[in-house]
Amino acid sequence: MRLWKKEKAQDAAVMLLLGAALTLHCLERITASKVKAPLMMSPYLFPVILGGAAMLLGCLLLRTAAAERQDEAEPPRLRLRDVAAVLLLSAAYDVLMTRIGFIPATALYLLAFIAFLGERRPFILIPVAALTPLVLYAVFKLGLGVRMP
């Protein structure tokens, strides 16, 4: 059985690492800066404090993770492959939009996405994929004057 405690410790480690990375990066920028502004006015003063606060919160979370003894139920299983596929589809859509334009790219994206989510009935799939980009374009661009990709 997986433990929530373990996940909490992982989260705490990530918080500590991110905080440390931010603090080190900002301190390095402060020392490397050619413009010698007083530390109080440095653009990196607040990010340093932010990094420190993140590390402190990481420590607090680690403390609570260590204090917990009870094992809790396993979290629900996620379909991460599906998420990855959606991200790939969306990245392809982003690229396609600049190449072939909003309407055809959106039609292809919707067709692929809806089919991927399990809707295979042509009388739903094709009208939705074909009409949605046209309706969105008409409503947003022509009706509301929104700038479209």
Binding site: D11, A37, M40, L50, A53, L80, T98, T132, L144, V146
Partner: protein, 496 residues
């Protein structure tokens, strides 16, 4: 009197009313359909209304906000899935009522008391905003910094099971707000050599990603599940019977407005608190709470709608948003070149009236749509998610692009969507990120200004913290932070 004469021209302006109505109709569907949220719709509206007149934009957004918060109750009652987080409590009694064939009655109660809550909150805003502004004019940079810090620490504690995770989420938002040209020195900061980041992280694509694309990814990850709509049978529910709960409702409204005014708390917290109050106040409920007591719906809906006016108070008077939606509305103000804050009521009072009049018309449309249209749209709220989610993605792309006309922003939207998804999976709330994103640069500038002023003083600590307001804010922030540490939890446990 001044306020009444200020909102009267707007209340009778057909164009203004039309825009509120458009927003209200959109809000009805957006709030009712699980997977679409008021935050998501407001974020998309920022980009859509970018080129509009400020009044038209305000009218539309207030329509969406007021009706959207209410319509979350529709899916809560009919399919046991809250359309908005603030309607979670409504499911407890709303769905059991629907299962018993009393969906129509439950909807009537939800509509009437959402209306009561919204009007109460907005009137409270109208009354309280001016006195707060006169107090806020005396605020110094350190006061602003502490007030924002107090808001973030509160939201950190209220929106997550773990305080550390909630506050860390706020820090993530602040971090992203610091990227770009430093407002004081004018030098690039935290851009990591990426040219497009010099202009900073645009708020709208970030919000659209966090609330829109992240939701799509979550739905896909959990597997598509559509709810089953409970049928609605019309029944006779006398208005006199519904209004019997009005005295209790006014107390829930007060709780909702106060919680709403607390930066970061918002509707879900208010409705939970009000529900707890209802359990104590109502000795003989119509049915046991949680098994279909309409008193539970009255508490939840009065409180979460009263939050609207409450959340707008700190947003308009101090530029500190009360919840995610008001954080987005704040960015609408910035997009239109307005500056909410202590001087807002003097410099831009006309826009204050627009918010108020838009909200009040929103309440009227809430009542009309809730009583006449809501019972008839039960089929629409169950749009198959496998069709809805891809369309939401396309809307997110349009919303992210429209503000600055940059494909880079679409990429940023995807990035924030992934970030929001990962955060939700790991138990980090996303609402504090929004607040951090909106408040971060203000906190940075005010902190550095106050520290730099103090550094030239002979008594720097007195200059920084020597004023009564500053001391009060410092104590509040310190108490909020300290009471959430594990050490305090240990002491409390030992005492018990």
């Amino acid at each position: 009197m001044q306020t009444i004469s200020g909102i009267l021209p707007l209340m009778t302006n057909p164009r203004f009313i039309l825009y509120v109505m458009l927003g209200a109709v959109a809000g009805l569907f957006v709030g009712a359909i699980p997977g679409l949220s008021v935050s998501m719709a407001s974020a998309l509206l920022v980009s859509i209304t970018y080129t509009w007149a400020t009044g038209d934009a305000m009218a539309t957004i207030m329509g969406v906000y007021v009706v959207g918060v209410f319509s979350g109750a529709l899916s809560a009652i009919l399919i046991n899935i809250p359309g908005a987080p603030s309607s979670v409590v409504t499911t407890l009694d709303g769905y059991p009522m629907a299962r018993r064939g009393e969906a129509y009655k439950a909807l009537r109660y939800a509509t009437v008391y959402s209306f009561v809550g919204s009007v109460f909150g907005l009137l409270a805003m109208a009354v309280v905003a001016r006195p707060i502004t006169t107090l806020a004019v005396r605020f110094q940079p350190m006061d602003y910094f502490l007030l924002a810090l107090f808001g973030l620490s509160t939201v950190g504690g209220l929106t997550a099971k773990s305080f550390s995770k909630g506050l860390f989420a706020a820090l993530i938002g602040i971090f992203f707000s610091l990227i770009g040209l430093d407002p004081i020195m004018g030098t690039p900061r935290l851009t990591f050599g990426i040219q497009n980041l010099k202009a900073g992280v645009a708020t709208v694509p970030a919000l659209v990603g966090l609330f829109g694309f992240a939701e799509v990814l979550s739905v896909v990850a959990e597997g598509i599940r559509d709810g089953e709509v409970t049928g609605i049978r019309q029944q006779k529910v006398p208005m006199g019977e519904i209004l019997k709960e009005l005295p209790h409702s006014l107390w829930y409204c007060t709780v909702g407005t106060l919680v709403g005014a607390l930066p970061g708390a918002g509707g879900p917290v208010a409705s939970f608190l009000a529900y707890g109050q209802a359990k104590r106040l109502v000795k003989n409920p119509s049915r046991p709470f949680g098994e279909g007591a309409y008193e539970g719906i009255v508490a939840s809906e009065s409180a979460n709608n009263a939050c609207i006016g409450g959340a707008l108070i700190p947003m308009l008077t101090l530029a500190i948003p009360g919840d995610a939606v008001t954080a987005i509305i704040l960015s609408v103000f910035y997009v239109h070149g307005l500056k909410p804050g202590p001087t807002f009521m003097k410099m831009d009072v006309a826009h204050f009236y627009e918010v108020l009049a838009g909200g009040l018309w929103g309440c009227v449309f809430l009542l009309i749509l809730g009583l006449l249209v809501a019972p008839r749209i039960s089929r629409v709220i169950n749009v198959p998610k496998r069709v809805l989610m891809p369309i939401v993605c396309v809307l997110c792309v349009i919303g992210a692009y429209a503000c600055n006309k940059r494909i880079f922003d679409v990429g940023m939207m995807f990035f924030f969507g992934i970030l929001g998804f990962v955060m939700r999976r790991r138990g980090f709330p996303t609402a504090p990120v929004t607040l951090g994103l909106v408040l971060g640069s203000m906190m940075d500038a005010n902190f550095r200004r106050s520290v730099s002023l103090a550094s030239t003083s002979k008594v720097p600590l007195v200059t920084l913290f020597g004023r009564p307001v500053t001391i009060l804010l410092l104590i509040l922030t310190a108490v909020t932070l300290l009471t959430n540490t594990p050490l305090f939890a240990c002491l409390k446990a030992k005492k018990q």
